[in-house]
């Protein structure tokens, strides 16, 4: 009985805690400025009629749609690059006999831990040398430097958990070496690959330092930099539009996470419990 009460209580607390930012974003997006800036009003409810003014502002007075498109484009390309590099690398490291696979894997993962605040200065030289300043391609070039190591490390755990006998069996049953990898290992690792896709995409949408350093023009902004740069002008915060922009940017990712929640958890906990 008490157990159940505690259970419900814990779930309620977490639900409120996690749902509150969304509630706040929704309600702020539709509040009139008068309502927002009147201190005497109860901030948790509508005190005046809801309005679409902020949304209209966001879509007509800023390049919000362009930023969304930029982010999606960079996200998709970086995910593709990450998969192309990380899947074969992780597989070969996982299957490398002896200790070297493990050591190399750790070494690669360590590069993920070097903070971006340290790297953006040397990387800006690289970007300048390649003439990619203020281009989305600068981000596409730089982002894999942290998405690939992490994904390799994640996928290595996955591939290691697949018994080698499965590949042997697939080869005896009629597949080539590569066929066994493509038709046996990949389908079994769907959870891991999906985790890499979602995680990489999230990292790209959240990234701030590189996007701020390498992109300057309004039309090339990513969502994470465009919103704070153009919706905060001096000490003027466009709260309604800010919240609406955040809401729209976070909904698809929240949706994706929920859709693949089980697989995502499996992706991160593989090998944790034998």
């Amino acid at each position: 009985m008490w157990g159940k009460v505690v259970h419900v209580l814990v779930i309620t607390v977490f639900t409120v805690l996690l749902a509150f930012p969304f509630y706040w974003m929704v309600i702020t997006s539709f509040k009139q400025n008068v309502d927002l800036y009147t201190m005497e009003n109860n901030p948790f409810v509508f005190n005046a009629k809801p309005t679409l003014d902020h949304l209209k502002f966001l879509f007509t007075e800023t390049r919000f749609v362009r930023w969304l498109a930029n982010t999606t484009f960079v996200g998709i390309v970086v995910v593709a690059i990450t998969l192309v590099l990380a899947v074969p690398a992780a597989y070969s490291l996982a299957r490398l006999s002896g200790r070297w696979g493990e050591r190399l894997g750790i070494a690669i993962f360590l590069t993920y831990l070097v903070p971006q605040t340290l790297l953006f200065i040397p990387l800006s030289r690289v970007v300048a040398y390649l003439g990619l300043q203020d281009s989305l391609w600068a981000l596409i070039l730089v982002y894999p430097s942290f998405t690939v190591p992490f994904s390799i490390w994640l996928l290595m755990g996955f591939f290691k958990s697949i018994p080698k006998e499965l590949e042997d069996a697939a080869m005896v049953d009629g597949l080539t070496r590569f066929g066994a990898f493509a038709k046996m290992v990949i389908p079994i690792s769907t959870s891991g690959i999906l985790t890499v896709v979602i995680f990489t995409f999230t990292l790209v949408t959240q990234e701030f330092v590189y996007a701020l350093t390498f992109i300057s023009s309004e039309s090339n902004q990513m969502i994470g930099t465009g919103i704070p740069i153009f919706l905060v002008r001096g000490d003027v915060y466009y709260w309604g539009a800010l919240m609406a922009a955040c809401l729209i940017a976070s909904l698809p990712i929240a949706f994706l996470y929920n859709l693949f929640l089980d697989r995502f958890i499996a992706g991160f906990t593989v090998g944790a419990v034998k």
Binding site: P163, E165, L166, D168, A169, A170, M171, V172, D173, G174, L175, T176, R177, G179, K183, M184, P187, I188, T190
Partner: protein, 345 residues
């Protein structure tokens, strides 16, 4: 059906080290059930994997059906293999697992259903076709693995310790099932095990391996009754053959031939035997102890008896071995030699 042959087949994993498999020559017979028997690390699995094409030989040749297959990939060797873990494809249903080799070998699609159903009915798993491997018991998994192996009618079956993941009770019935299965399909089968009971019970012939070297290839009775050397003599049989070093030979005799003198007829070697331990195993008794005198004095010797009720711990009795049951081995090479006259005193 086909014959598998290996010629001086050798596998060395690390240069300079002893080979995992050393110059193995063997030839199966048509439709035979050949067992590779050896302790762990004896190279039996490596030998099997080389025949399957999953391991590249360092030197030597492998022939299947008279054709050298060294350079063929596993899928081109017309073999089927059952792995120790069964290696069922976890993301596919039982039906798709069994159909997998057909699909991979590009067998015409309209034949799949018929062949899968044939294989499934042969192994009595027709009702399981929609399940996933994780929903099956150990015995069912083994049957699915066998069905997947049989479905494309291979020339040779390779089985790598397929019973070792089953519990003791299931193992006995699975063994019987495998034997029946082999009799029915009659495909040449190579079976790897470290379990001598499996080897003796199932094998038409047994290849005894140790440290990558073939010690003997023969029928179960040959390897048991006429071991080629001391390794075979002691590896087979539980308890193993008793061995005694006498001048330049090693003399061996099986525990079941070492009995109270009253039950031994004909010419025999007699000992005074001090009983130190008696184990009751239901259908038999294992008695161990030391001969009181002579060259065997102080050495532990086993006896297997139908009844040991008239023996007591610590007592000394007259035991004997019939002369004809003594096996002689060279002391330096440990290989079998002709019987000799030896002094036991």
């Amino acid at each position: 059906m086909a014959v598998v042959e290996t010629r001086s087949l050798t596998k060395v994993f690390k240069e300079g080290e002893l080979g995992a498999v050393n110059s193995v020559n063997l030839e199966t017979r048509e439709g035979e059930f050949l067992v590779f028997l050896g302790p762990s690390g004896s190279g039996k699995t490596t030998l099997l994997r080389m025949i399957a094409g999953l391991e590249t030989p360092t030197s030597g040749e492998i022939l299947i059906g008279g054709r050298v297959v060294n350079d063929l990939s596993p899928r081109d060797r017309r073999i089927a293999m059952v792995f120790q873990s069964y290696a069922l494809y976890p993301h596919l249903s039982v039906y798709k697992n069994i159909a997998f080799p057909l699909k991979a070998q590009k067998v015409k699609k309209d034949l799949h259903k018929q062949k899968v159903e044939w294989a499934a009915s042969l192994l009595g798993i027709g009702a399981l076709l929609d399940r996933k491997p994780r929903e099956l018991s150990g015995g069912e998994r083994q049957r699915v693995a066998l069905a997947r192996a049989i479905v494309r009618e291979p020339a040779v079956f390779l089985l790598d310790e397929p019973l070792s993941n089953l519990d003791a009770k299931l193992r006995a019935s699975a063994r019987e099932e495998l034997e029946r299965f082999h009799r029915r399909v009659g495909t040449t089968t190579i079976y790897v095990t470290h379990d001598q009971v499996e080897a003796m019970a199932m094998g038409d012939r047994v290849l005894v391996l140790n440290k990558g070297v073939v010690h003997q290839l023969g029928t179960p009775t040959e390897v048991y009754d006429n071991p080629a050397d001391t390794f075979v003599a002691t590896f087979l049989g539980s308890p193993p053959m008793n061995l005694a070093e006498l001048s330049d030979v090693i003399v061996g005799f099986r525990p079941e031939h070492f009995r109270p003198v009253s039950s031994v007829n004909g010419e025999a070697v007699a000992f005074r035997f001090k009983v130190e331990n008696i184990e009751y195993l239901g259908s038999e008794w294992i008695v161990s102890g030391t001969p009181a005198s002579g060259k065997l004095g102080g050495q532990k010797v086993f006896s297997r008896l139908n009844s040991a009720q008239d023996l007591s711990l610590g007592g000394t009795y007259d035991f004997a071995v019939p002369q004809c049951e003594l096996k002689f081995f060279d002391r330096s090479t440990e290989k079998r030699v002709e019987p000799k006259v030896v002094s036991w005193q």
